[in-house]
């Protein structure tokens, strides 16, 4: 009998701990599927952040380490120096990467570190219960801006793809969204591109995933995906910001 589908060996059998409708699980599975399809699972080292996805190492079936909050890009820099021929990636939320770890991500990109960063932008602090993130949209409600974020109070949301793509040695930056099957296929393509960039030693590669957090947004899972498609992608346009020649 011909096998038409089987679960990736890249995910452990454990049930994920994420809330219903959270897209962390989709991102995990896509990354692991790509590594599996390319035969890289056993040669990959991943760094998980502080945030809901600190638990990712229970689900991603590879060698991993936890990170101090926001420091994953520095940690991956260290790992990379010991293992120049392995695949190294960081997986980070938006509080982790765009707030407390804003320095580390900028400098990893600036040094042109040869690892990939997968950035889960759900526009909120998930793990700590829904506080405003640097990426929270104007008007979006959070527990530290209950009437909605305002520019006066907290400035404008940070667009990380746009920022990082200004840095010369960040050679690849793309934003995708984890909403429809078609968009998820595009996300998988982006993960493949990031790995191509890394394996060819071209420089730093960055993929931002617009993600949902139904629990902290106070929306049903389906409405949360609609929010990503309508509201988030209006401020955070999806697409390729930067891509080296020769990467398709």
């Amino acid at each position: 009998m011909k096998t038409v589908f089987e679960p990736t060996k890249g995910m452990t059998p454990a049930d994920t701990s994420y809330c219903p409708g959270c897209t962390h699980g989709i991102a995990h599975r896509l990354i692991m599927e790509v590594l599996d399809e390319r035969g890289l699972l056993g040669n990959t080292i991943g760094v998980v952040p502080i945030g809901c996805s600190i638990n990712a190492h229970h689900f991603m079936n590879i060698d991993m380490c936890e990170s101090t909050h926001g420091r994953a890009p520095a940690i991956a820099t260290g790992i990379r120096r010991v293992h120049p021929d392995k695949v190294v990636f960081t997986y980070q939320g938006d509080g982790d990467l765009a707030s407390i770890g804003a320095g580390e991500i900028v400098h990893a990109a600036h040094r042109g570190e040869k690892f990939s960063t997968f950035f889960i932008n759900n526009a909120i602090y998930g793990m700590t219960g829904g506080q405003m993130a640097p990426t929270t949209l104007i008007g979006q409600k959070a527990t530290t801006c209950v009437s909605g974020r305002t520019v006066e109070q907290a400035g404008m949301p940070l667009r990380m793809c746009e920022i990082l793509s200004q840095i010369d040695c960040c050679v690849y930056a793309e934003r995708v969204m984890l909403t429809t099957p078609a968009n998820i296929r595009k996300a998988k393509k982006a993960i493949n591109r990031a790995l191509d960039v890394q394996l060819q030693g071209l420089g730093f590669g960055f993929v931002e995933f617009l993600s949902s957090c139904p629990t902290n947004w106070g929306l049903a899972p389906k409405d949360a995906l609609k929010y990503v498609e309508e509201k988030m992608s209006a401020y955070y346009p999806v697409g390729v910001f930067k891509k080296p020649e020769g990467i398709d």
């Binding site: 990959t44 190492h57 590879i62 060698d63 260290g78 120096r81």
Partner: protein, 358 residues
């Protein structure tokens, strides 16, 4: 191998290279800048990797990553930089990863000054990190001893899978002394890491099972069991690593307690006092944690005062009082702000203290 005349900081960097250091991460701060400078050109020649980090937060994080991946890692900084490294140090203790850290300390608080100080004593022995953990701390008193300590520290860090701190001061970093450099050990090849460090994250193709280096333990009972495991290690380390030297305690009327640069000045002060007919001795803690409490049992009954002598406002004195346990009066001599007193000043002040205790 013969003696070479070297500046402290360069000798410290060379000692780490010879111990088989694979990675060095550093952020510039006086008085230890010669270390990252030396590492930037010498470590790659030895097959290692140098990265100038964007901050000390990043440097300790890079160190954690490289060490979790099985590399021998050395980092250095000076006082304000060590403050920024506290987050990483506590995490590294929890995650059980070996890292060797050198603090070439200066005066504080805050950005303070750039002259030598020992005002980080409480920070290095008690930590600014959160949670229950301990870091072995060694306080060498000269360039040769610091070189030998760095060379040994990697094995200690790896044995206990814990950071090891070396507390030198700016005086040692900046002065020159003749040193005998230890033999170069060579860097462990990446293929050999899994056999030397089976717990390291090297990719699942390279070892049995799956390795995860982590700190988070959400269940209180699991976390408590982990901390108890850490403390079993610390108990063993406390027995193995405790170290001190005691000088001329026989019939001493006063006993200095001093480490690092200050202990050298006390040795001179002992001679000056001897010329004045005063018998003085010295206890020099070499390990600051574990603290050599047993050394204080050697103090003779002739002693009238135990004088904690420090380059700060009195920090080690708490450990001294604890070790003396009320058996003798405890006094203090110190200068701070980067001022290193002369041995004459120490002798004069000690003589006055002794007179007041007679």
């Amino acid at each position: 191998m013969g003696k070479v005349l070297m500046k402290g900081n360069e000798a410290f960097a060379e000692a780490a290279i010879r111990a088989g250091c694979k990675c060095y991460f550093g952020y510039p701060i006086t008085p230890q800048n010669e270390i990252p400078e030396y590492m930037s050109h010498e470590l790659p020649k030895a097959g290692g990797a140098f990265v100038q980090a964007e901050s000390e937060l990043a440097a300790i994080s890079m160190a954690y990553g490289a060490a979790a991946a099985g590399g021998r890692v050395f980092i250095s900084t000076s006082s304000p930089g060590l403050s920024l490294m506290q987050e990483g140090l506590g995490f590294i203790c929890s995650a059980e990863v070996p890292v060797v850290v050198l603090n070439v300390s200066r005066g504080g608080p805050g950005v303070g000054g750039i002259q030598p100080g020992q005002a980080d004593y409480i920070q290095v022995t008690r930590g600014g990190y959160n949670g229950d953990c301990k870091i072995p701390v060694f306080a060498p008193a000269g360039i040769q001893e610091c070189v030998d300590t760095i060379y040994k520290a990697f094995d200690i860090a790896e044995k206990y899978r814990n950071p090891v701190l070396i507390f030198a001061d700016g005086m040692m970093g900046q002065m020159m002394e003749p040193v005998v450099l230890p033999e170069a050990k060579g860097i462990t090849a990446v293929e050999d890491i899994p056999s030397v460090k089976p717990w390291a994250i090297t990719g699942t193709d390279h070892h049995e099972g799956r390795n995860v280096v982590y700190s988070l333990r959400m269940q209180p009972d699991v976390l408590e069991a982990h901390v108890e495991h850490l403390f079993e290690k610390y108990d063993e380390a406390a027995k193995e690593l405790v170290d001190y030297k005691a000088y001329s305690l026989d019939e001493a009327e006063l006993v200095f307690v001093a480490f690092g640069t200050m202990s050298r000045l006390c040795m001179e002060a002992i001679e000056i006092l001897g010329e004045r007919g005063i018998k003085a001795g010295l206890i020099r803690p070499i390990s600051l944690w574990p603290y050599p409490d047993a050394a204080f049992d050697l103090i003779p009954s002739t002693c009238k005062t135990v004088i904690s002598t420090e380059l700060n406002m009195g920090q080690m004195i708490f450990d001294v009082k604890n070790a003396v346990s009320g058996r003798f009066p405890v006094d203090f001599i110190g200068r701070t702000g980067g001022i290193v007193p002369s041995s004459l000043e120490i002798a004069d002040r000690a003589e006055k203290i002794l007179a007041s205790r007679k």
